[in-house]
Chain length 580, copies 2
């Protein structure tokens, strides 16, 4: 059969292995066409193609349940479960998301985008089955990179106590997004090198039966292994040795670059060079600072590329750049230990992943000592998948007592705040990289950022004030200009600099206004604007306060301009608020 004729996994179950092989080649070809045209998680999907086919071949999906960790490797799963047109037909590329999505298909059980959760979710499915007296099989797929996340360990530890069918497929492609870090990976290497026979075996240590598949991209081996374990009556790990990027030479050669790639030339693998971004600014600045101070450390939790530390820059940084693996809790608490021990840690992290370390921010950093958190991809211009939103960092982090949360409005202020946090802050400090295009606003930004104090960017006549936090300052200025030209109102514009607390003097001056508008590039619930409104409402004859910002909702694959417009975050809509 042709790949494009597949409507469900049942279609492939009657095929022989000899018939499946050309089908896999066809699937890989379709996959590469879309990947090269649209970009996406190239390496993970190329490398998990044959395992996906074998899983759906052996297991009775959707009755049997498969939970994919991170679910960025599920393009082939989608192709086999009725969605191949969204890969084969360029006009339908946008019909599927890049992750499993229950709204798309009954074969997709959860919306998943963060790592290390599949074994937990699957253990719940298995326990529910046992309580119900059901008989479906439950499979959790997890990559070697995701195993460093503590939740994966919590789940493996617990699930070993299930006395029933529970299959964990470990997709060991010897890579996280970047190279793996941690003692665990010596264990996995010893298992690969011994063909699964090494006495040190973390999975057996945790109580699992264990099957090793040395050729994890070989269909026959995979089918044999899955057939062998499919009716196991107790927890078992199937350890697959796979090739990330399998079948596409540029991706096999350069695994890190092809973990996630924008569109590329299929013949060469080349992509257009990206313009300079804040990740480059951060990484170059940190390399300079680290060269001047051997006690400075830049930390990542498994996403070096997302914070600008390309392999070449990691080489330059040497041992002062530390990748703890996908392990945000470790990154945050180790930062506290580093600071206590006399080092100067800066943890570079994506807003959405900092969520994985709330308790460590609170307990280990805010109750104890100091560390700097450089937050990327916060706000509306960050990542736009429902599972990767950067809207919630401000409500989550800025309300933790003791955290100084700084929102620079431009490149110059960003570097000034980062340097202040490194050199002068005495408590934990978050610096949120501005979103959107890089804005330059030359000026003298050296100041003590621990002191509250708003910058008056536009003085105004006193009747209306707009407070534009971080990357929304340009929006505030545009709105003020429009108010002036369209309504003859000369609004003041403030840059609050810090969003975890208020400037009492600024609040007093706002009391004299008729209307105060706050703009924040994060969910308004629990955010900065509600603090401003509450402070102003605690007095008689308070001004009207309009709190504008992003929704408390998991928007999915939105266009930033649309989401902003839907929230009244355009210069026109803001200017109209001031009409008398």
């Amino acid at each position: 059969m042709k790949a494009t004729d597949i409507t469900s996994p049942a279609d492939i179950r009657s095929l022989s292995i000899a018939e499946l092989r050309p089908l896999c080649a066809e699937l890989r070809d379709i996959l590469l066409s879309k990947l090269s045209a649209r970009g996406g998680h190239a390496g993970p999907n190329l490398g998990f193609l044959e395992p996906t086919v074998a899983l759906h071949y052996v297991f009775d999906t959707p009755r049997d349940k498969i939970v994919f960790d991170v679910s960025h490797q599920t393009y082939v799963h989608k192709m086999l479960t009725g969605r191949i047109a969204a890969f084969a037909d360029p006009t339908r590329y946008a019909e599927v998301t890049g992750y499993t999505n229950p709204a798309e298909s009954p074969y997709d059980l959860f919306s998943i985008g963060h790592t290390s959760t599949s074994v937990s979710l699957a253990s719940g499915l298995a326990l529910a089955r046992d309580l119900r007296g059901g008989h479906e099989r439950v499979v959790a797929v997890i990559g070697d990179g995701s195993l460093s996340g503590g939740q994966a360990f919590e789940a493996l530890d617990y699930a070993a106590e299930l006395h029933s069918n529970f299959i964990v497929v470990v997709n060991d492609n010897q890579m996280s997004i970047a190279p793996n870090h941690g003692g665990l990976y010596d264990d996995l290497r010893a298992l690969r090198e011994s063909n699964g026979t090494a006495p040190r075996n973390i999975f057996r240590s945790l109580g699992y039966d264990y099957v090793y598949v040395p050729y994890g991209n070989d269909l026959a081996s995979l089918i044999e292994a899955f057939e062998y374990v499919k009716d196991a009556g107790r927890p078992v790990v199937v350890h697959l040795n796979t090739m990330k990027g399998e079948g596409y030479a540029p991706a096999e050669r350069n695994k890190e670059r092809f973990h996630y790639s924008g569109p590329f030339d299929r013949a060469t693998g080349d992509s257009p060079a990206a313009p300079e971004g804040y990740t480059d600014i951060f990484a170059e600045h940190m390399i300079e600072r680290m060269a001047a101070d051997p006690a400075m450390v830049t930390i990542t939790a498994g996403t070096p590329g997302a914070i600008g530390f390309t392999p070449a820059r990691r080489e330059r940084a040497g041992r002062q750049f530390v990748d703890v693996g996908i392990a945000e809790e470790q990154a945050v608490s180790m930062s506290s230990g580093l600071a206590k021990g006399g080092a100067r840690p800066v943890f570079g992290v994506c807003a959405t992943f900092l969520q994985r370390a709330y308790d460590q921010l609170s307990q280990d950093c805010c109750i104890n000592g100091h560390a700097v958190f450089n937050i990327f991809y916060g706000g509306v211009w960050g990542m736009t998948d429902a599972t990767h939103l950067g809207f919630f960092d401000v409500p989550m982090v800025a309300n933790i007592p003791g955290m100084c949360f700084l929102e620079p409005t431009c490149r110059e202020e960003y570097l000034a705040m980062l340097d202040w946090a490194i050199d002068h802050a005495t408590g934990p400090t978050a610096v949120r990289v501005p979103g959107g295009a890089i804005v330059s606003r030359p000026g003298d930004y050296a100041r003590d950022y621990s002191r509250t104090g708003w910058e008056t960017v536009r003085p105004g006549a006193g009747d209306v004030a707009i407070v534009g936090a971080g990357s929304f300052l340009p929006l505030a200025l545009d709105a003020a200009a429009l108010m002036a030209s369209q309504h003859g109102i000369d609004a003041a514009v403030y840059n609050p600099r810090r969003v975890d607390t208020l400037d009492p003097a600024a609040i007093e001056s706002l009391r004299l206004c008729r209307l105060v508008i706050t703009l924040e590039d994060n969910s308004v619930e629990g955010g900065f604007g509600q603090k401003v409104a509450a402070a102003l409402a605690a007095g008689k004859d308070a001004p009207e306060v309009r709190v504008l910002g992003l929704p408390a909702a998991f928007a999915d694959r939105y266009r930033p301009a649309d989401l902003l417009a839907s929230r009244g975050l355009t210069p026109e809509a803001i200017a109209d608020l001031a009409k008398p």
Copy 2:
């Protein structure tokens, strides 16, 4: 020498083992005197007495650094480091906290109260040392129970890559707070039973050298082991087989009850029976519900006693009560999987520990499906140590999109909300157990709690309104009574029921007031009152709004009445706000 003459660990380093033994007996006697009089973490401290003496005997503290996980086992550490009077002299008992505390002593490196962080913090100290070119030794102490927390694994995995002195002391007393759960514990048992020689060895799997100490309460064995590893040039685990409650028969016999105990009769170990509390109400109610529905599950993450599930009740609940070990991430995500699989999960959790699963609440529950979170010890009457505060659950949880956060005001409303969450809620729902004394307010509480809608508890004349959330409703009523009697003002009082969102109709009626007072039993930053204030401020001629609640601060060992008074949370202070 006498124990009470110890001023620093240097005092004991010149003693022979024969001299240390009677000293240990004396320390144990002092410890038991204070424990029986004041209560505290009995079992952990009795069981870690000899290891603590041996650590300070062998290591050059405070130059060498010891980080204690949870730090509830550091009473003896405090006795050896200049603070013995706070144990030996009943008039000075209050001088020390129950955890390590840098404000007390240079021997205490961090304020620690949550589990599974010591290896992370110590790895930061070790890396800082290496970057600085220092030579001090670094020791992390961690209990077997804490090893189930994912962060411990993240840290062990990372720290295996340190090429320098790093010593992890595993205090294996074969218990968490309650019995351990997870496949890991079979591994530890195999190691104990083989005198450390079993081939399955999780620590070796992670890349550590390994030393086993079969008699972990024997000073000579401990000193020998610590001397052997103290100058190790690479990471090593010292696995101690200790006895929780060592040297006190009632605590050795009943390890769970003596993990943490109130005052007890030293001769018998007996304590006065505790009056019925919400933990009993919860546990009995869940047992009844589970008996009626085999798909219902009550989950704990290592703290069954703290949610009312005594050993006898666990017996009654059978397999429908699940303890995942100290692994909150697993508990939350597994709950999502259980709900997806057709079961009905209720996770009973302390407010302070729910912090450890923010991302799982967001990703696995609020983006996906349903689960019920029954939150204990939230608010001012919860736990009063800085590391265990229940102030922050509302800002943390209620601002996650999709979470329905219910605050019952009395016993009857609590059970109605819990039943509604189990039977009717379609999304994730948190029910926060009221703090303070159990309040009964009979009435008909059956309603659809997914719909917003405030309860008008006292109609009032319309000029002043008090919104009393959850356990602060009685305070609101007391304040209203005082306003009436002292100032002749007939204030309305509302019970908002839900604090994650507002009731638009109620907000409209509040607009007509002169003054609105919100009372919430949590940190006001990012809380409910700021939402009320922001909603009211978004209009002209808004009422004055006073947002009252707990501070955004890590208050430590406070008296609830004092903290409430300091925040204006007394009937008198609230009534005075309404004076014209």
